[in-house]
Symmetry: C2
Amino acid sequence: MKLNEGVEWAIHACSLLASLPPGKALPARKLAEYFALPEAYLAKILQQLSAAGLVSARKGPGGGYVLARPSGEISLREIVEAVEGTSPCFRCTEIRRRGPAAVADDLFVRPCVIARTMWRAEEAWRAELAKVSLREIQMKGLAEMPAPQVEKAAQWFRAALG
Amino acid sequence: MKLNEGVEWAIHACSLLASLPPGKALPARKLAEYFALPEAYLAKILQQLSAAGLVSARKGPGGGYVLARPSGEISLREIVEAVEGTSPCFRCTEIRRRGPAAVADDLFVRPCVIARTMWRAEEAWRAELAKVSLREIQMKGLAEMPAPQVEKAAQWFRAALG
């Protein structure tokens, strides 16, 4: 089981957008530059975040992406699900209904206990992600950033935002 | 994010082995027959379960697979990890170290807060799976099996075990 690498990119991109001064935006090209990521693929991730209502694009000069809501009101779960979707990781193919002991479909009144248990465990994962806000990630990330990086990032931000 | 379909097969196969009378075993061919699964692929899953110490193969006449431990001492987490492995679902590629704000690697003393948070959430998923024993799955599965299926399964078992 492997999460799409776009999840890492999405969280980092949102965390960077959470650090923007009010009224400022960052185009996909600049976000890609900051993390040295391929722009076309990051643009796809930003579209997914936009479709999920987490970021929005401002047109015109000084335009680009901004968070669509305050970072304290965006959860990690929302960001992960914007990229990965909300389909269950465990797909039940109902093998209990097959083979020599197969019986009529309508005799099975509940989903299989195996599927129910697997889905409950996934829900624990999603619930854990829901507890964490983007603001928390952004603040901890900033606090743990090496001092020389804070300086270089600030310099880059000044140039990028004009 | 998607779990390998082998996970469903592995849990069902273990659950069936948990129902074997003492001293009896089921060859891969019979397990595949019961669930109408491709034998070659199921055999691969059984080898993974065997490598993880969850099932063992008995040679000779009346041989086949048995659980390697009592079903009450096997957790769903062990079965899932036998097939999926224990690598984190979230892979951190350290994009925070790249681009115009890159600084010397040794300035980063802890894993990124994003990776730590993602890994903690995965641990909640694994912990939930660890709480459930194979015995619990097997007993609930049996209790919820439609009566006509119980009968057909018992008939098949009698013929399969000789």
